[in-house]
Amino acid sequence: MQKKWLFRNTETEYGSSKKSFLTKNKTSLFLLLLSFAFISIGIYRDETATVLTKSINICLECIGIG
């Protein structure tokens, strides 16, 4: 059976992996930072209270009963 490996080595069309993580992954980095910002804003706006309240009370409407 062929050996399957998890990490691609450098001989790919994507070029050398020596390139900085940041320049290759601008989009991912931006999205990660954006997600942290959004989560923080959400916490500041107290959305977490809404999420928690909804999730610890069985709203019968939400599970389709009654």
Partner: protein
């Protein structure tokens, strides 16, 4: 092999759960149970098995800040407590019916009290909006530590309705889910008969 075991377990769970839930529609109204909550955690201080007292001394406020305690239960022979939350659509839908019935059954010694289990601060705008828009005249109380520790912690789904006498003992069984006018009339009539 692991897959088969999981599959069998899954099929059994599905089948039994479907059968159980399918029975729900044909179940006749349960025999009068003294127990108010069918699934109290056993490690909590459960109500005495002799009496069915579910509400002892408590203090809280109405939605607009008026102080209330257990003496409110003494104002009628039977108190119908309707537990609701502000985000629960069904709860809000059935409250006009409850308002109508509260006026109708007043002479027969029934009072209706609402308890908002997701709000504990007075003058919350959502609660006030709901009560004002629906024109509710029956008392609506907010959650408090007393109520949480005694009764509300056992109530997880809303709307849930229960009946108590002036001493806080349960009458009849717990009613989960919203009902229409006809449904509530039946429940109220049968509960008043028990008394």
């Amino acid at each position: 092999m692991k897959n088969k075991f999981l599959l069998i377990g899954l099929s059994v769970m599905l089948l039994s759960a479907s059968v159980l839930s399918g029975c729900g529609k044909e179940v006749p109204s349960s025999p009068e149970k003294e127990e108010t909550v069918s699934n109290e955690p056993t490690d909590e201080a459960a109500p005495d098995s002799e009496s069915t007292k579910i509400l002892g001394e408590f203090s809280t406020v109405t939605y607009d800040g008026e102080a209330v305690d257990q003496s409110i239960l003494a104002e009628a022979d039977v108190t119908m407590i309707n537990v609701w939350t502000t985000f629960c659509g069904y709860c809000i839908d059935e409250m006009p019916v409850l308002q109508k019935l509260s006026e109708e059954y007043k002479e027969q010694g029934l009072q209706i009290i609402g308890i908002v289990s997701d709000v504990d601060k007075a003058n919350d705008s959502t609660v006030t909006d709901i009560v004002d828009t629906l024109g509710l005249t029956y008392p609506n109380l907010l959650s408090s530590d007393d109520l949480q520790s005694q009764m509300l912690q056992y109530i997880q789904s809303v709307p849930t309705t229960l009946f108590v006498d002036p001493e806080g003992n349960a009458i009849g069984q717990l009613h989960v889910g919203a009902r229409d006018e006809e449904g509530w009339r039946k429940v109220i009539e049968s509960t008043l008969e028990i008394q």
